[in-house]
Symmetry: C2
Subunit: 353 residues, 2 copies
């Protein structure tokens, strides 16, 4: 089967990352023909990289050699560009967040249905090795039944970049990292949400959220904490996962951390009290060495790449790895959090099947 | 001034800790005369330790040489023992939680007022060095304006002990560690609470909470997370404190951890993107070495000890370091959390002046 000819719309940080890193891994399946970017500097970079520079989006749409486009532009332009592309007979890969809100996404989906063109969102963090470990632990019960998952991403740089500060372009951390972290969590659990308490932070004085803290109770009883911060000079672990028989802590994307499980060789209820501050504690004393053991994180299956899957979807009608109905669930959730910073108790907002 | 003659009611873990560790530090001010405990084993330990063993609580009350009692018995007995002691003309030091609920505490306070006997709760964790560092940072603004305080205590031993599993004796982690952590937080901030989202955990299948997660918004804008867990095989830091110009992380009671502040020597908004999982991130890239610096935790003032203060209160009418109105604020809060696991939004429950 011949490769899919792509035009890349938006040749900024993400656009060029797709071209050089992700698409480049599938040379048999993906061929980048050219780019379109409104910035002259990026046009010149694209030319230096050897790609044809389209002079307008219309020129891309009119190019019958192009089968698909990647939309890697600011968030508020995703809808219009995607719709135009599909109406011109192009399949679409779109960066996240897919759109500014669910209403916009529904318009996109409607055009996809009418035109028969495929539309797939690049929720790439489903491939993150740290996430895959958590997903595997959730399945394999190596630390027992998982009852709480804490997913944190913390930086100290504020909100870098230009349009990411602005509401009208879909800036803010909820639409930036939030969309990744909720996508991972909902994809992993497959459970409806029972309740969310969300608190959007405003430390930098921007017009968009510069972070957030969400406490989530799922219908199946699982608790989750999802937190993003942009003024964290020292970091908490990327993942902290509590099971009935152990705890996994993944410190960073380099997969440093530890996984400790109960050996059940000893009665854990009778530890020796320790001095803690100016008091004594038996409850918080460390278990004896025999009572717990450290295990390596599990090996995780390597999933086919995003573009491998996209190719299979286009050429062989395979099932998309990132399904639009899943992406839509996250958008519904984000809409609610962003509209009121808080979701009514016991309101069921999500059903992933 | 002569020392205060004490009888210790309940010679278990806490009672003997008071005698050997805390009271022993103030030999000029506190003299332990005897103990009363219903357990024969503990009576025999007390005799071996050289203390007179009272045969009944009435015998303690009838002993005119005794000026004050320490109540270190299960939580459900605090009220009755304290009231009887004050009615018999004894001052009272009471272990935490002061009572099962605010109603009980109000009965105690009423008797204290009527009898003129002093009643002081041993909220000893106000003296914890880790807490004092956080308190000092809140005051000295070394990491800027503090906007979030996370206070966690995590163990892997479940709920050790006997009566601590049982509701009727006032068991559970909210009344055990919760009362400490909320006392610290309210004492530190001095701000009313605007909103609390509380989630009590039930992992062990006990009839009491085996931990909890609370997200708190104070009237002054401060956010706080208070969390206790008893099935945490790997731990998060004891304190994680976010300021506008830095972050302090105190890992454990041994004061290990780090404090990182912005140097402001460099524009923090332009970091180099890093590979994170299968994606790129500029926002979460580490700041350059010049952009931040590590500082030692601040030196903290050494407060006079609990029993030093108690002595001054009794002998010189000094101001108590642990005030009953502060303790009552925490009880009101715990009542509400324990009664519904959740406090109505924007209900003002606490005013500490």
């Amino acid at each position: 089967m011949k490769p899919i000819n792509f035009a890349v719309i938006g040749y900024g940080g993400m656009g060029s990352y797709h071209v050089h890193t992700i698409m480049a891994k599938e040379p048999e399946k993906i061929r980048v023909i050219g780019t379109y970017d409104i910035s002259e500097i990026r046009q010149s970079i694209s030319a230096d990289d050897g790609y044809y520079c389209y002079e307008s989006f219309e020129e891309v749409l009119a190019d019958t050699t192009i089968e698909a486009v990647l939309i890697a532009t600011p968030n508020d332009t995703h809808k219009e560009l995607s719709i135009q592309a599909m109406k011109a007979g192009k399949h679409v890969v779109c960066e996240k967040p897919v759109a500014m809100n669910t209403k916009e996404f529904d318009e996109i989906l409607s055009v996809s249905q009418k035109t028969g063109m495929h539309f797939m969102v690049h929720q790439n963090r489903r491939w993150d090795p740290d996430f895959l470990i958590v997903q595997e632990l959730y399945r394999n019960k190596q630390i027992g039944e998982i009852f709480q998952i804490e997913s944190r991403v913390q930086g100290a740089n504020g909100i870098p970049g230009d349009w990411r500060h602005l509401k009208k372009h879909g800036g803010g951390m909820m639409l930036d990292w939030g969309v990744h972290l909720f996508d991972q969590l909902l994809y992993l659990t497959g459970s409806p949400i029972k309740k969310i308490d969300a608190d959007l932070s405003d430390i930098l004085g921007d017009e968009v959220d510069d972070g957030f803290h969400c406490f989530i109770i799922f219908e199946n009883g699982l608790r989750a904490i999802v937190e993003v911060g942009t003024t964290n000079y020292s970091k908490l672990p990327r993942w902290y996962v509590k099971g009935t028989e152990g705890t996994a802590k993944i410190d960073d994307w380099d997969l440093s951390g530890e996984m400790i499980v109960a050996t059940k060789e000893e009665n854990l209820s009778s530890p020796t009290p320790i001095q803690a501050g100016v008091g004594l504690t038996k409850t918080m004393a460390p278990p004896s060495e025999e009572a717990t053991q450290k295990l390596p994180f599990p090996e995780v299956p390597r999933n086919p790449s995003f573009y491998h899957n996209f190719f299979e979807v286009i050429r062989y009608d395979a099932e998309p790895f990132v399904k639009n109905e899943e992406v839509r669930c996250v958008m519904v959730l984000l809409d609610q959090i962003l509209s009121d910073g808080r979701i009514a108790e016991k309101e069921r907002v999500l059903t992933i099947v």
